[in-house]
């Protein structure tokens, strides 16, 4: 590349040097092939890769024409960042995804071809005009204010002569980027993450509190089934867990137990759940509850013994 750069004319001049023309006749066809390949490749990623080839060729062409800054920026920005984003998205679609060749809109291809040729004609006409009308100015070391070369001249142009348009453009781009992000996240504002403490408070005081907390770590629970009655911390059966309609969890058994306790302590309103025996006194259905009990608490052993004995 150094040889090519050295071979290129250092100052001004309208004629092409040998190195420049050699580079052009190699890179031009490569860039063109890249463009055609991009259009005709069936696979989306292949298409993107052809485009990368075109962009690389253009970058090198800029370098050969004494604009190394533009050339490398082209490679870094277009090939390195923008095309990488394209490839990133295309890789998500799946490797075997190919373009559909079915024409969905009637006459779309014809219209596209006509418009494409028209656009090409416009571009060629515009460029052909400049080929003859504008005399080439070398961008080598002697170029620009104080003859400091291409990079410094570019800096002076952007940050001194055209500062306002440059800033406006960047403001526009930033607005677009922020707008895109706002639209992406609109309506799904991120919920505040609850801390562990807040979750516990919610469990104990919030709408879930009536169901009580689940068993703490280390508690041996045999089942989550509705057929298995819930146990209070002392091993007695939780009333809310017994259903009147499910046969295996007879509500009556608990009611009898409560009545039994109340007959001992007197009808003083709310009774202490810990005082319940859990086994119940109706005897014949006591096995379900009892078998849970004897594994859970030694205190319930007496009740189990009673149940088994009754059978």
């Amino acid at each position: 590349m150094n040889a090519l750069l050295a071979a290129a004319p250092m100052t001004g001049g309208g004629e092409m040097s040998t190195g420049e023309s050699v580079a052009f006749w190699i890179l031009g066809p490569v860039a063109l092939a890249g463009g055609l390949g991009m259009i005709f490749a069936r696979n989306a990623v292949h298409s993107a890769l052809w485009l990368v080839m075109t962009m690389l060729s253009l970058g090198v062409l800029y370098m050969v024409q004494q604009a190394p800054f533009l050339g490398f920026t082209q490679i870094i920005v277009y090939t390195g960042a923008i095309m990488m984003l394209f490839v990133f998205v295309l890789m998500m679609v799946g490797r075997d995804a190919s373009d559909s060749v079915v024409e969905v809109l009637r006459g779309q291809r014809l219209a596209a071809a006509v418009l494409g040729v028209g656009l090409g004609g416009l571009a060629v006409a515009a460029v052909a005009e400049t080929l003859t009308a504008v005399g080439p100015v070398g961008l080598g070391p002697g170029y620009g204010p104080e003859a400091r070369g291409n990079v410094q001249a570019l800096g002076t142009s952007i940050f001194r002569d055209y500062l306002l348009p440059f800033e406006l453009t960047s403001a526009l781009l930033i607005t677009a980027a922020v707008g895109a992000m706002v639209y992406t996240f609109a309506g799904q504002a991120r919920r505040k993450q609850a801390s562990q403490r807040e979750r516990v408070v919610e469990r104990l005081r919030g709408p879930l509190a009536q169901y009580g907390s689940r068993s703490g770590p280390g508690v041996f629970a045999t089942a989550d089934s509705v057929a298995t009655p819930a146990l209070l911390p002392d091993g007695s059966v939780a009333p809310a867990s017994l259903s009147r309609i499910i046969e295996s969890t007879r509500r009556e058994r608990l009611d009898a137990d409560i009545a039994d306790v109340q007959s001992e302590s007197g009808p003083a309103g709310e009774i202490d759940a810990r005082a319940l025996r859990g086994g119940g006194h109706d005897g014949h259905e006591g096995h379900d509850v009892g078998s849970t009990h004897d594994r859970l608490s030694e205190g319930s052993h007496r009740a189990t013994g009673e149940n088994e004995g009754a059978r």
């Binding site: 190394p68 979750r199 703490g216 013994g305």
Partner: protein
């Protein structure tokens, strides 16, 4: 201090190199990189071994130096496997795409000052472009294509995940890398690597721009996919990452590219922040130490320090989680480097218009105002105990006030017979069921 050449001098010096000299330089750089890669593999295994209290390869050749050569030859003779589902062309191009840019970046690294080779005055540098630093960035951005395409072309999920990670990672960290370079360019006043080294003759930029250096060093590790940022090839998550399906020479090319990239970025860091081929401070007082071929020693010494840090990181740090890694890049490195860049640019403008005393006064006043403003910010409000708790999931959480209540008295009396059962060598449950059965 030796007088430094004016900006652009190296460029004109190299521009009139005859063809044979350029060819020799190309060959030397290529061979040098291959040798450094072999050395690095050995060095890494030895150093990591030392860190893990084991010898590492020490059998083949002196100190085991020929071990990586033997491994490389073995790799070349292994069977080359291409998966059935692989995309043939891209699968072949990917390793090449990852190796070539790694080598190309070395073209702009200044290895030493002006020397005479076979009577021809030239600099120890393949070429010096007015935009040299950009060459390094461009090469690293092309090199990623190798990794990304390798994962995609393998036609296998793990490599694809690796390459997706790599694409996201490199885009994020290249931004930070580029931003940290800008401060250096602002001070050197040139994008040419040779000029940047020359501008550091009065002081290395690591002292002048420490923040830039730190950001460059961090994103350098992210850019080369090395531990603790080696997420594209995280073996505990993605088997082998992007190169899972590669074998034989193609795999060797990826291996080569990784190590050459490490060496390249270490050399770039040396050039940008550690004064390139210039001798370190106490030695730099000796006259003639920065002339001729001797600076090669300083250059490779500094590069080796960076390479050692690479290995040290790998031996020390666990791999980062992917979201933490991206957060570090986007929410810490890039904002910090933007702020730092603004500060540096402001100082540059002020230096041109004010004296040092004025800058210190203005800076001091600004600092006092900043501290005062910081004091005005109220402390964090204490948490409100009674406010409505937020919506939470119903994931089971133990209550904070979980306490086992004492057993009531009636129960305690009942325990006595159970104890007897246990003394018989049977559990409570078994005893109870035995009773029931009998």
């Amino acid at each position: 201090m030796n007088p430094m050449p004016p900006p652009g001098y190296t460029q004109t010096l190299i521009a009139d190199d005859p063809f044979w000299l350029t060819a020799i330089k190309v060959l030397v750089v290529f061979v040098l990189l291959m040798l450094i890669t072999l050395f690095m593999i050995w060095f890494e295994r030895r150093v990591v071994g030392r860190m893990q209290q084991r010898p590492g390869p020490n059998w083949n050749g002196p100190f085991g130096l020929l071990q990586s050569l033997a491994d490389g030859l073995k790799l070349a003779f292994k069977e080359d496997i291409r998966p059935v589902l692989a995309d043939k062309a891209v699968f072949f191009i990917a390793p090449v795409l990852s190796v070539v840019p790694a080598f190309v970046a070395w073209a702009v690294i200044p290895l030493g000052p002006e020397v005479s080779i076979f009577g021809e005055r030239t600099a120890l540098q393949l070429t010096d472009l007015p935009v040299g630093v950009l060459v390094v960035l461009a090469c690293s951005s092309i090199g990623v294509y190798g990794i990304v395409l390798a994962g995609w072309a393998s036609g296998s999920p793990y490599p694809l995940l690796g390459s997706l990670r790599s694409a996201a990672q490199v885009i994020s960290y290249e931004l930070a890398l580029g931003l940290s370079i800008i401060a250096v360019v602002l001070y050197a006043g040139s994008l040419s690597t040779a000029d940047i080294v020359a501008a550091q003759s009065t002081g290395w930029y690591i002292w002048l721009l420490p923040v830039s250096f730190v950001i460059f060093a961090v994103s350098m590790v992210g850019e080369t996919n090395r531990a603790p940022f080696d997420l594209p090839e995280a073996e505990s998550e993605l088997v082998g990452g992007f190169h899972t399906e590669y074998s034989s020479l193609k795999f060797a090319l990826f291996f080569l590219a990784e190590y050459v990239n490490m060496v390249t970025l270490s050399a770039v860091a040396t050039t940008l922040f550690l004064g390139g081929w210039m001798a370190p401070w106490p030695l730099s007082l000796i006259p003639g130490v920065n002339e001729g071929w001797l600076p090669l020693v300083w250059f490779f010494g500094k590069t080796l320090v960076f390479l050692f840090v690479y290995i040290w990181l790998r031996g020390t740090l666990p791999r980062q989680r992917y979201d933490q890694f991206m957060r570090l890049g986007w929410k810490l490195l890039i904002p910090v480097s933007l702020l730092w860049l603004m500060l540096v640019a402001t100082l540059r403008v002020l230096r041109a218009e004010l004296t040092t005393g004025q800058i210190l006064i203005v800076g001091g006043v600004a600092l006092v105002l900043l501290v005062g403003a910081a004091l005005l910010i109220p402390d964090q409000a204490p948490p409100d105990e009674d406010r409505e708790p937020p919506i939470v999931t119903d994931y089971p959480v133990p209550p904070l006030d979980l306490a086992v209540p004492p057993t009531p008295k009636r129960r305690r009396r009942a325990v006595a017979p159970a104890r007897e059962d246990q003394q018989d060598g049977e559990t409570v449950t078994a005893g109870a069921s035995r009773e029931g059965d009998s």
